[in-house]
Amino acid sequence: MHFSYFRYTLSGMLLLTGMACQKVVHLNLNTTTPQIAIEGEITDQRPPYQVNITTSVDFYSDNVFPPVSGAAIQVKDSTDNISDTLIETSPGWYTTQHFPKGIPGHTYSLFVSLQGKVYTAVSTMPLPVNLDSVNYQSSNLFGETTIRPTPYFQDPPGIANYYQFVEYINSVRLPKVFLFDDRLSDGRYISEPILNDTTDHLYPGDTLTLAMYCIDKPVWTYLNEVSLITDANSQSSAPANPQSNITGGCLGYFSAHTVSEMTSIIP
């Protein structure tokens, strides 16, 4: 549950009354040694599946993350004992060749051998939960109109469910992490809007595809920690690097998840 209302409200009010102000500042930040980031997913939609490897850059560099080639990657369905070796189809992108469609309930493993180091991960694909419908909410707060897509679905009672939402606006993926879990909502019929803000540029007339993933707990924990860092309103007193579910000392994560999608036009 996001109680960001409170912080947002008071600072928002002060900003509006002209007493407070915001400005871009240039900080003296240290440089970093590039670190490897591995992102991989197995879904219950049609294969192939991909793994992307990039490196990190300094804060004031451009958002261009150098791809990493030459990794030896394997994925395995540990439940059915089926493996596949991925081939690099474009710089930094490795694609499965013969891997079967992901099956909910199965456990998947990732093995990456790169520059003399080995990285492994395990993820179990949860049982699917499907979207019933998607509606839109328009909220007018502090002079800004924000459109928020609202998914409608039934949370299965009695089990811990973790959800990730991905939005495609006019077929372009919005690079933001939206999450939900049933810790406070087990068994409820969910109709919580996704907390988009005006920087996401959702306008009436746009075609929006909303994808709901069911992810496992380690992936949810990882992505939750990512969202705490990237959400400018979160104000965590001690941001730290998220706990990756990939062992070996790299950034990124490996997720085996189901997908339920709905496309509609924003009214």
Binding site: R7, T9, L29, F59, R183, L184, R188, T199, T230
Partner: protein, 782 residues
């Protein structure tokens, strides 16, 4: 006493005779006790900390306690007592002592001190003599002349101008004392604990200066009667009320107004005081173009009530109450209100001249309520902490150089972390988080003693027992936070007990009349902890008691100080160094979920802390220009196994330099000008050095916790008060002030994001809360 002298040694009798005579004369010189109360002669307000001395035996003086009571013994015969208190004309009383005597002393307020070089017995060197280190007292006259935000006088903001006490930042509740966290300060209003002493996120404190008589802050050597928090005790006493005539005073300001009514219940026997304050900040919101802002509410109010009645010379009863509330509302979509309520009943009883008792029954509570009413959600959240407190304090004045203080202190805490109610169509379940019950008891004894004319020692011991009770389920966790074991307890069944001894020792040695050195060692234990993992504290932060998982926090502090007064006590100078060791400090796992979490104790990490520093303080007390300079050089660090690879790192409370300059200039009979300048090193923060890609989004990469620092904070405030015509019936004044005169954009937060105008870049954005803020207030008094 009889001496048996064997006959053969009779000749020795002559040698003994002078000795016998000497001894018998000493025994024949009996002592008696003079006790009494020191009050303001015009209003009847008891004066706390007034000095009562017998000239010539100055080291044998006493100060009045929190009820204005003193007791001093002297040899029979002619005795002269000198009673002094800052801001009052000293009084000299001559009595012939033949039996125990009770006096009623009334001091007349002194004229404003315009003359600098006057030999004045009213100038005291208490700060030099008093054995306690790290203690500071503020009078309301000092608070009233210092300009603060929106022209409101504010005790909490003013104490942050003293050495060793630092603000937690603009718009932040709380303050740090000697490198400790903001929940480590015990804030007492007439002995009741105030859990959240701030309004509107720390812009104002909950203390209406109209209602306050005395403020004492202990940063170091706290006497054994205080306990429960590690870093400081802020002991605030309310006005009793004028027991001779009725009076009304108040002020009307841009943001808030306040009104004070006081008067006698029965002339010179009892009085009452009522103070109220309310802001109307939301009036400004009505001017906004935005409809949400126009329909929002933002206000707070305070109500202080006090009444007292002296049944006879030996018995007085006091009733105090405080009620305050903050309301924040965003149209009908969101509402948050929070507030404190305290109530105290106290009975002072004087047994005989030398034994004073105070029995207090105290109720104190803090609660907050949230209402969310948007889309399909109709959610209410209520959280509350309730204390029932019984205290018995006895002060035994043995003789003029020795006083024993002992007592017991028992608090029953009920903490209700949250009751969440949701509607059927809401996406969230209703939830009743388990209530927590605990008992915090203490027994203490301390001895204030002056062994010789140069030494003053205050040593004592506080024994505390903290017990956690059922009913409820109590969990234990593994290091990953998974529940290992659940144990069920019945009502009033003990789950866990922590017993601790807290030794307290402080001493002062007078080097010369105006100078002394002081030393103290204190141990403090804290059993209530405030959990908050966001940059600024919020009224919804969670209080938790020690438990089967959370151990009590312990602090050991030593301090050494040198005190010197100049120009016949016209200037006070002091310097102190301190070193503090903190154990069982609490921090949070990455991404810790503190809200609505029955297993919140699985989200915590435990470690150590240390803080040390040097404080310098120079104060000018008399003359046209008064004020002070305070400078603190300090460091505060923490060490946790899971943070920064178990190495010492700078704590959030670490502010290397903290400089405050306060000046009050009485330009003429009508005009008083004041100014404050503050410079503080920025606090340590965790900032990214790099970034990487997740789901196409730039995610920031961090190396160490608190490896960077915020820019330094500095600010200049000015104020001017114009006194209106003063008649016997009516006084008025105008106060003008400018907060942050040169409009420096002191950072409130610095956050990171992808540039909304250029998605190929990331940038840092700084938010500042207040630039230049002028204000006007009109004050009146009948």
């Amino acid at each position: 006493m009889s001496i048996i002298i064997p006959l053969p040694q009779k000749r020795f009798l002559f040698a003994f005779l002078p000795l016998l005579l000497f001894v018998s004369r000493s025994f024949a010189q009996t002592h008696h006790t003079i006790d009494g109360t020191v009050r303001d002669a015009k209003t009847g307000e008891t004066l706390i900390g007034a000095s009562v001395t017998v000239p010539g035996r100055i080291h044998a003086g006493v100060t009045t306690n929190a009820y204005g009571f003193f007791s001093i013994s002297a040899p029979d015969g002619a005795v002269t007592l000198v009673i002094t208190f800052a801001g009052y004309v000293p009084d000299t009383l001559a009595v012939t002592l033949t039996q125990n005597l009770t006096l009623k002393v009334g001091l007349t307020p002194g004229e404003s001190q315009l003359q600098e070089v006057v030999i004045n017995a009213g100038r005291r060197n208490d700060n030099v003599i008093k054995p306690i280190t790290g203690v500071q007292k503020l009078t309301t006259s000092e608070v009233k002349d210092i300009p603060v935000l929106f022209g409101e006088k504010d005790i909490l903001k003013t104490i942050q101008l003293l050495p060793g006490i630092q603000s937690a930042g603009d718009g932040n509740t709380g303050f740090y004392v000697r490198g400790g966290a903001s929940d480590q300060n015990l804030i007492l209003l007439d002995e009741a604990t105030v859990y959240n002493a701030s309004h509107l996120l720390g812009f104002f404190s909950t203390f209406n200066s109209d209602a306050i008589k005395d403020v004492t802050i202990y940063k170091g050597g706290m006497p054994a009667e205080y306990g429960g928090r590690l870093s400081s005790v802020l002991d605030i006493r309310m006005n009793d009320g004028n027991n001779q005539k009725f009076g009304v005073s108040g002020g009307i300001g841009l943001i808030a107004s306040h009104l004070n009514v006081e008067g006698p219940i029965k002339k010179k026997k009892g009085s009452f005081a009522i103070s109220a304050r309310r802001t109307y900040a939301d009036l400004f919101l009505k001017l906004s173009h935005d409809s949400t802002t126009r329909n929002s509410s933002l206000y707070f109010y305070d109500l202080n009530l006090k009444a007292n009645y002296a049944f006879d010379d030996k018995n007085t009863v006091y009733l105090s109450g405080y009620f305050g509330k903050d309301v924040l509302g965003l149209k009908d979509l969101f509402g948050l209100n929070w507030g404190n309520a305290t109530g105290t009943v106290r009975w002072n009883h004087v047994f005989n001249s030398g034994l004073f008792s105070n029995m207090s029954l105290i109720y104190s509570s803090y609660d907050y309520n949230i209402l969310i009413n948007s889309n399909n959600d109709n959610i209410t959240i209520a959280s509350k902490i309730n204390d029932l407190h019984l205290k018995e304090d006895l002060q035994f004045y043995i003789n003029s150089v020795s006083k024993i203080n002992f007592g017991i202190d028992v608090i029953h805490h009920t903490l209700s972390p949250g009751i969440i109610n949701t509607s059927a169509s809401s996406s969230f379940n209703s939830l009743d988080l388990q209530k927590k019950y605990s008992l915090e008891s203490a027994a203490y004894v301390s001895h204030e003693w002056s062994p010789g004319s140069k030494w003053k020692i205050n040593y004592g011991l506080r024994f505390t027992v903290f017990s956690v009770f059922g009913p409820g389920s109590f969990y234990t966790y593994d290091s990953s936070g998974n529940t290992l074991d659940t144990a069920s307890y019945k009502s009033a069944q003990i789950v866990k007990t922590y017993a601790n001894l807290e030794p307290r020792f402080s001493a002062s040695y007078q080097l010369s009349d105006p100078s002394s050195i002081k030393f103290s060692y204190t141990r403090n234990v804290q059993n209530l902890h405030l959990l908050s993992n966001s940059t600024s504290s919020s009224p919804t932060d969670l209080w938790v008691p020690s438990s089967n998982n959370i151990r009590p926090e312990i602090a050991d502090q030593i301090a050494l100080g040198y005190y010197r007064n100049f120009s016949n006590n016209g200037y006070e100078f002091s310097t102190e160094v301190y070193y503090k060791i903190l154990q069982d400090q609490i921090d949070y796992k990455n991404g810790a979920e503190l809200i609505g979490n029955e297993n919140v104790e699985s989200q915590l990490l435990y470690g150590q802390g240390r803080a040390y520093g040097l404080e310098l303080y120079l104060k000018k007390k008399f003359g046209k220009l008064t004020g002070w300079i305070s400078y603190t050089l300090s460091k505060s660090e923490r060490k946790f196994q899971d943070i920064n690879a178990d190495t010492w790192f700078n704590a959030t409370q670490d502010h290397t330099h903290d400089l405050s300059l306060v000046g009050i200039y009485k330009a003429s009979k009508k005009w008083t000008l004041s100014s404050t300048f503050v410079y503080v090193t920025g606090n340590p923060v965790t900032w990214p050095d790099g970034k990487y890609q997740v789901n196409g989004q730039a995610v920031f990469l961090y190396s160490n916790r608190n490896g960077y620092r915020m820019p330094a904070y500095n600010r200049l405030d000015i104020g001017a008060t114009l006194e209106g015509k003063k008649t016997a019936r009516h006084e008025s004044s105008w106060t003008f002030s400018v907060y942050n005169l040169y409009g420096r954009e002191n950072p409130y937060t610095i956050t990171f994001r992808t540039d909304p105008k250029d998605p190929s870049k990331t940038q840092a954005v700084q938010t500042s809360l207040f630039r230049m803020v002028p204000s006007v207030t009109y004050n009146f008094k009948f």
